[in-house]
């Protein structure tokens, strides 16, 4: 058994070195993911049933409020569709091409890493939908990117991964930099981001919205990343600004995400 263990370890190292997974890992994934998927479904049903039993009254009130909100949003949507049609007509007359919104694929998270660093989640794609490596994953903001696809199941590298970095832009001032995760001592998990490599005397203020810059060749531009909640000077160079960013995405409560194909 020790020989088998050593062989598997070497096999894994060689496969990872070539950015692949070994055959035993592939088999284990094919067996393990359906279990995780089934457990997640069962958890969801139990959670929903529990909620409906213990919070029936508040759920009814919430349902009424959401219906009213839905009516309002439907009206807003109709108005926006009208604006869109008018805008398109104007652009057609002026000869401008229109950027069509890219349709995302709704997916749900079936497993997440629980060891030391929550850097990846496993998602399951609906039937008859395909995703590929490098696709962008979004929710309220940027979540990460697909790094490994096995049929309908894929692994997503989160932007709070310790080794992750992305090109970012301050939406208000246009200053660009690199966004990296930063661990909070209180939790130990990288639930905040830090924007570095900003130009000297960069104009960054608390409340500024940070988006992707598109200059890293990985993420397209203008995807919301987070909001600046602190600005300080670099400990290395006093004129260099470093911004702390709170991501738009709550990585703890993440259940469903959108996968946007990389064009």
């Amino acid at each position: 058994m020790v020989i088998v263990a050593v062989t598997l370890t070497i096999w894994q190292r060689m496969a990872w070195h070539h950015n692949r997974i070994s055959l035993p890992e592939y088999i284990c994934q094919r067996l393990g993911y359906p279990v995780s998927s089934a457990v997640t479904s069962a958890n969801q049903i139990l959670h929903d049933t529990g909620l409906s039993v213990f919070r029936a009254r508040s759920l009814a009130a919430e349902n009424r409020r959401l219906r009213q909100e839905l009516d309002k949003l439907r009206n807003d949507n109709l108005r926006l569709a009208e604006y869109f049609r008018e805008n398109k007509a104007f652009r057609d007359k002026l000869g401008f091409e229109l950027d069509m919104p890219v349709e995302g694929i709704p997916t749900w998270i079936i497993a997440r890493t629980s060891d030391r660093q929550r850097c990846r989640v496993t998602i399951q794609v609906p039937e008859n939908r395909e995703i590929s490596e490098g696709d962008i994953v979004r929710e309220a903001g940027l979540v990460g990117r697909v790094v490994d696809v096995q049929g309908r199941v894929a692994q997503v590298l989160l932007i709070v991964d310790a080794q992750h970095g992305l090109g970012a832009r301050n939406q208000r001032s246009g200053d660009v930099g690199i966004v990296k995760p930063v661990a909070q001592w209180a939790t130990g998990w990288p639930d905040r981001l830090r924007m570095e490599k900003l130009r000297r005397h960069a104009d960054v203020r608390i409340g500024d919205v940070i988006t992707t810059s598109g200059e890293d060749g990985i993420y397209p531009a203008a995807i919301p990343v987070g909001v600046v909640e602190g600005v300080s000077t670099s400990p290395i160079h006093a004129q260099t600004v470093v911004a702390t960013i709170r991501p738009f995405v709550d990585f703890d409560g993440l259940e469903y995400v959108w996968v946007v194909p990389l064009l």
């Binding site: 370890t9 067996l31 060891d115 310790a162 939790t187 130990g188």
Partner: protein, 161 residues
Amino acid sequence: MFWAYLTEFVLAVVLVGWQYAWPTWLRWGEQPPDLAVVLLVTVGLTRGPLDGCWSGLLTGLMVSTLGRIPLGGLFVSHMGAGTALGLLGRRIFPNRVLVAMAVTATAVVAMNVLELAFLPPPHLGPWVTGTVGQAILSGLMAAPLFAVLRALFNYLPHPGE
């Protein structure tokens, strides 16, 4: 022996798959219960060191695959724990649920300490909180799982038969 090994393989797949899909609102210190260790404790205490080592190999492989963690340290901790628990099973009361709960909680702490050498955490404070939380949750989960798994293993031929 074939059916016993196959059963342990299926159990490793199911329990580790369950562990990784454990709901976030039921975690303690961000950690789910270590169901792989629950399996190791049950197999080790009821079936001996060889089966414990085999279960360690399987659970190590599953945890590595689903958690994207390098295999080396996991094999050392899981196979070592499985074998040690198998040897321990001959010296304590292996049929008592309370013993299984205590052994599971202790094994979780011991294995996390052992894995420190292979994968040091970025901060010690959260690691301690997570390890303690995981040990308590695992101990609690060991009670029903140990009873069910022990009953299941009673249907399988015992090692040496």
